[in-house]
């Protein structure tokens, strides 16, 4: 083989490998981006209540290993120490325990109210209303030692502006189910 022939063959091989390398970038760049952002995306999805799972009024839904049912949502009007346009709202749930490992399944339990504009209210500690002994909050229920088959009564209290009371719906999120959360519909929906 002549020197010219060798040069031509080397050149062809080099061009082929350059083309292969460039094409491999099409795969490698998105792959490295995906690997680099995997933890961030996982944290984003695992730490936020993003996708609602609607639950019709009167029905219960399996969530965090237990069956959740909204039993009541009502305003507690007439509290004297609040601003005039502020309404305390009570959300009551009945939860039948399935998996009793609540400290893992219900970790980061968050009950909230969501209105038609997507605004979210967290429970308040300002308006404290008397409850019977067997009513708990989501967080206190985690440490209640409830067993499989038990039914827990949960109540959360919120402060909501009067204008939002017509469109608020209760919602529940727990770490083991995120990014999904339960969005309860009311009787009138």
């Amino acid at each position: 083989m002549t020197a010219q022939g060798l040069d031509r063959e080397n050149g062809t091989s080099e061009r082929r490998w350059r083309r292969r390398s460039l094409w491999s970038l099409v795969l490698l760049v998105p792959l490295s981006l995906a690997i680099g952002s995997y933890d961030s995306v996982k944290a984003l999805l695992g730490g936020n209540d993003l996708f609602p799972r609607r639950v019709a009024w009167g029905e219960s839904a399996r969530f965090g290993g237990s069956d959740w049912k909204l039993t009541d949502l009502r305003g507690a009007f007439g509290m004297s120490n609040l601003a005039p346009d502020t309404v305390p709202v009570l959300a009551d749930f009945s939860v039948k325990i399935g998996d009793p490992d609540l400290q893992n399944r219900w970790l980061g339990c968050k009950v909230m109210l969501i209105d038609k504009d997507g605004r979210r209210w967290s429970p308040t500690s300002i308006a404290s209303l008397k409850t019977t002994d067997n009513v708990q909050t989501c967080i206190s229920a985690i440490f209640s030692g409830a067993r499989s088959g038990d039914t827990l009564n949960l109540r959360e209290t919120f402060l909501v502006p009067k204008e939002a009371t017509k469109s608020i719906r209760p919602a529940v999120g727990v770490a083991s189910e995120r990014p999904h959360f339960l969005l309860f519909q009311l009787e009138k929906d």
């Binding site: 909230m112 605004r119 979210r120 209210w121 967290s122 308040t124 919120f158 909501v160 502006p161």
Partner: protein, 192 residues
Amino acid sequence: MMRKLANVVLLLAAVSLCYGLQVSKPHYGDLIGPIPARGELGDTVVGRSFEVRAEKVEFARKLKADRFGDSKVLTTGGIWAVVTVEFAARAQSATVAVASWRGTTGLTYDQTERLSFTDGLLPVAIDPGLPKKARLIFELRPDEVSDATLLISEKLMSALDSQAEISLGPVAIGPDGLPPGTVDTLDMTQPI
């Protein structure tokens, strides 16, 4: 010859570009630091999760406060600055917990912890649609009151989150070294 020269020029250009990138890159602390939302006294400053408007700044030599039912008068070797603010939550309930006063020389004063049980101090829980007033109280050196900036954020390490930065403007200093409007005692037991 020309090709070699072109390569040397290209190399020098690459070196200067790399050096430029190195010296102009922001500090890591700035990259992951708080994101400022700026405004002035009276402006509504909008952050990611809360809005805040500083209504007024008062100065006092002493503060009167309740502690476990007893009335206490808190004196200071400097001056008390009390900023009345109104907070509003944006899309969801939030808690605003941290405020500091950055003086004109850069000295930064955290809000005082001497009135820990007084109503209306941070942390303040705010809900959408329900604005709430609060008092931010600082114990300062009198020469730090003018051209100060109020820094307010949800938490102490507000990395990549909003921090309201409110310019409080110039404050005249009287012959006694205090602002002319300084009162002897401000009563913190009064509602905001």
